[in-house]
């Protein structure tokens, strides 16, 4: 699903990513590791389509509607409620049976009780769980997650583990992390970035 050869990214003179090769087949699970500043986020952004590579070849064999991206930022409106945020994304992604799916996700990630409250009142863990809901809402074929465990609380982390176990092999997953030990057993492709 993703084929990258010599992909690099430069912003003016600053080099954010250098010569990366990645071969991720459908159903694969890729784990990207590297120190801070090695370009993990840049690589994931490029694969998600938010940035274009400055050099090299990149083929991501999937449409925008099929990509679910979890960024450092939760990408939700703080002044809206969880329900309103997911409803907006649900409409934009044309999710079938939108209300049911939103309800199911909120419940699974323990946000049902807080669904009508503004995101600004959530804890960091809750916000990250909402971001996960947003990412999974449209059941994407390609999941790209940028350090998903970083902002999750214990409950959220366990839920994510369960989610990975469920989706492994069924969906293509690309994860960057500081703590590879947790998901190493799931990895079918490993990429280590040098700064």
């Amino acid at each position: 699903m993703i084929a990258a050869r010599g992909v690099g990214k430069r912003y003016g003179e600053k080099r954010a990513l250098r010569g990366v090769d990645l071969e991720l087949p459908d159903g694969g699970f890729a784990v990207v590791t590297g120190a801070n500043g090695s370009g993990k986020t840049t690589l994931l952004r490029v694969c998600a389509g938010l940035a274009l590579p400055s050099e090299g070849e990149l083929v991501v064999d999937v449409q925008r509607a099929q990509v679910g991206y979890l960024a450092h930022d939760p990408l939700v409106y703080r002044e809206l409620s969880a329900l309103e945020n997911l409803d907006l994304y649900g409409r934009l992604y044309r999710v079938p049976e939108r209300r049911e799916r939103i309800g199911m996700l909120l419940e699974r990630f323990g946000l049902w009780e807080a669904r009508a409250e503004r995101v600004s009142s959530y804890s960091r863990g809750m916000t990250q769980r909402l971001a996960l809901c947003r990412t999974l809402l449209h059941d994407p074929a390609l999941l790209i997650l940028d350090e998903p465990y970083a902002a999750l609380d214990t409950q959220g982390a366990e839920l994510l583990d369960a989610q990975f176990a469920e989706l492994h092999g069924e969906r293509t997953i690309l994860v960057s992390t500081h703590d590879p030990a947790r998901i190493d057993s799931l990895a079918t492709v490993r990429v280590a970035l040098a700064a």
Binding site: L50, R78, E84, Y89, L92, R94
Partner: protein, 212 residues
């Protein structure tokens, strides 16, 4: 029809955000009335109709700027715009929805401002109101577009007036012309031309403002 559904969903979101925050619209209302009071003292006695009409347009442009500066604030925080750009919808829908929401606020502000203006200064002609309506379209489409550009820069709030005002000069000319001249048809026509040309340009170009 998917496009319209996207625009509707996004416009609803923008209107909802303003309803929650309740800061931009009251600020615009107070600002525009305060500006009129300032104008009264700034105009020498026995000023022509032209001078007062001209100042109406200054008030409208700067009140609009106030609102436009707030337009992309929710998206700027924490890069929420990335979330919208990732969605499969046409990127121009983001611009159109934001323009419509801003237009709604501007119209509400003017619904108060115009009667106040008529009260403080001299009455209001039909052609002035028509001019305001047409100018609003131009102000909101171009202003929202340029606001999106300003929001990704370092200078942000500093940059928006600089980018917007030169583009707004033709709107002011059209508007003032429509307000004072005996046959305003030409000016109203010009405003319509401006609106059509720039709306088309904004619609076509917005994709490039939010993507690489």
């Amino acid at each position: 029809m998917n496009y319209l559904a996207d625009v509707r969903a996004l416009t609803r979101k923008d209107l909802l955000l303003e309803l929650r925050a309740r800061d931009t619209l009251p600020a615009m209302l107070i600002f525009v009335v305060a500006t009129f009071v300032v104008f009264h003292f700034a105009l020498p006695a026995g000023s022509s109709r032209l001078a007062a009409s001209g100042l109406l347009w200054v008030a409208i442009v700067f009140t609009a700027l106030l609102g436009l500066g707030r337009a992309f604030v929710p998206e700027r925080e924490q890069h929420v715009l990335d979330g919208l750009v990732l969605a499969p919808c046409d990127r121009s829908a983001i611009w159109l929805a934001k323009s419509l929401a801003t237009l709604a606020f501007l119209v509400v502000a003017e619904a108060v401002a115009l009667p106040v203006f008529a009260l403080f200064f001299h009455g209001l002609r039909g052609s002035t109101v028509a001019g305001v309506a047409l100018a609003d379209l131009g102000i909101c489409t171009v202003g929202t577009f340029v606001g999106a550009m300003a929001v990704v820069t370092r200078a942000r709030d500093l940059l928006l007036p600089l980018l917007f005002l030169p583009l707004a000069i033709p709107i002011v000319i059209g508007g003032v012309g429509a307000s004072v001249v005996s046959d305003p048809g030409r000016y109203l026509g010009f405003l319509g031309l401006y609106d059509a040309v720039f709306a088309l340009l904004c619609w076509a170009a917005f994709e490039y403002v939010v993507t690489e």
